[in-house]
Symmetry: C2
DNA sequence: CATTTCAGTCTACAACCGTTGACTGAAATA
DNA sequence: TATTTCAGTCAACGGTTGTAGACTGAAATG
């Protein structure tokens, strides 16, 4: 009943090792961020050698770029309601899949200018796609704020462990957030309730 | 017309030097985060010596704790509307004052577990203060999400430079955000518009 | 004036980092 | 089988970091 165990070929060995390196890198970059993750610690977890990582990926930076990704999203619909639902869908997707690559990018975003620029560009692209469906001069601000909300929600849940937010079911979280997001896509700006009269 | 220039006393010199160190530390921790800021670079900017920083503050960590702060907020009112306005006020305050200490804490939050815990605890305290004014089992989730929104807004504006969000006037930003925050304090969860019927 | 205190300077250490290059041995190739 | 290729190992490099400690000279103190 024993299947014949051929020794793995050279390309098989290489593929397996590369895969172990990538998995360990993804995990550690997501858990500790770019600076606190070392080539040596990745090599240890992947049960290989630091020098081999350099040979396969060139540099720590290149390895990071290989595993840290920020998903850019799909077309967003044409009415404000569709835009809101589309953005909520996008957030729900990011909450459901435990993409260590995304977490790696977000975790390193505040200390690595290149990562920050990548996240900023991704949200900026989202704004560009959605701004047409919204009217008003502040459409960019509104979509940008929805991006900020998504960012804060993911960070608060996955990286900070905020009470309530971390334990909530994704579907419930989205349902609670839905009115707020819809308010941002088709609502009017609301002055403070006790506001003094202002310039016309 | 020349005011007599007495050489500064020893305690004056010490106070001035300490102040320069603290200012440089605040600025660099806010700009580059904990890991990428070095004692030496702080000393250079403060025109002093790394060894002196150690003698005055004990360690890099202690210096960070001296300048990185996260403001905890005031009582929040008793009705959902008051809670919403109070939280918006709190966000407006953080957007108005360019508190390098807060930015230092936020910038380091995703890579320093101690900083993350401090931010988490501050938002958690906010939740505790506000949860009484809100009814429903998901009150904690709602307030937590408002905390996440504040977090995402500050990060998006001050640290990421999101289009629209970064250039907006604080007052306009708050006004646009207001309906969303109010929706979170007194709104009902909203199911998706195309939802199938669910269990009662 | 003699002594003490202490802000500020300088040098060095031990640890860690990313990265390099030489080496080994087995698999692939001819 | 003889030769080449290449995955994997090992030791070392130059640089940077936080930190410690000895030293200097002027201000404070008696």
């Amino acid at each position: 009943m024993a299947t014949e165990q051929r020794p793995p070929s050279r390309i098989e060995r290489r593929e397996r090792t590369q895969h172990r390196i990538l998995a360990a890198a993804r995990r550690q970059f997501a858990e500790s961020g770019y600076d606190r993750t070392t080539i040596r610690s990745i090599a240890t977890e992947a049960e290989t050698d630091p020098g081999l990582i350099m040979r396969y990926f060139g540099s720590k930076e290149a390895l990071f770029n290989e595993v840290a990704t920020i998903a850019s999203d799909e077309p967003l619909g044409e009415t404000p309601e569709q835009v809101a639902e589309s953005l909520l869908d996008s957030l729900a997707g990011k909450l459901a899949t435990d993409s260590a690559g995304t977490l790696a990018m977000l975790r390193s975003m505040l200390t690595r200018p290149e990562a920050a620029e990548e996240v900023r560009a991704a949200i900026s692209e989202q704004q560009r796609l959605a701004a047409d469906a919204l009217d008003g001069t502040d459409a960019g601000l509104r979509i940008g704020l929805i991006g900020a909300i998504s960012l804060g929600t993911i960070i608060g849940r996955e990286l900070l462990g905020l009470d309530g937010v971390a334990e909530a079911e994704p579907a419930e979280l989205i349902n609670v957030l839905r009115p707020a997001v819809h308010a941002l896509t088709y609502g009017e700006p609301m002055p403070p309730p006790t506001a003094q009269p202002q310039d016309p």
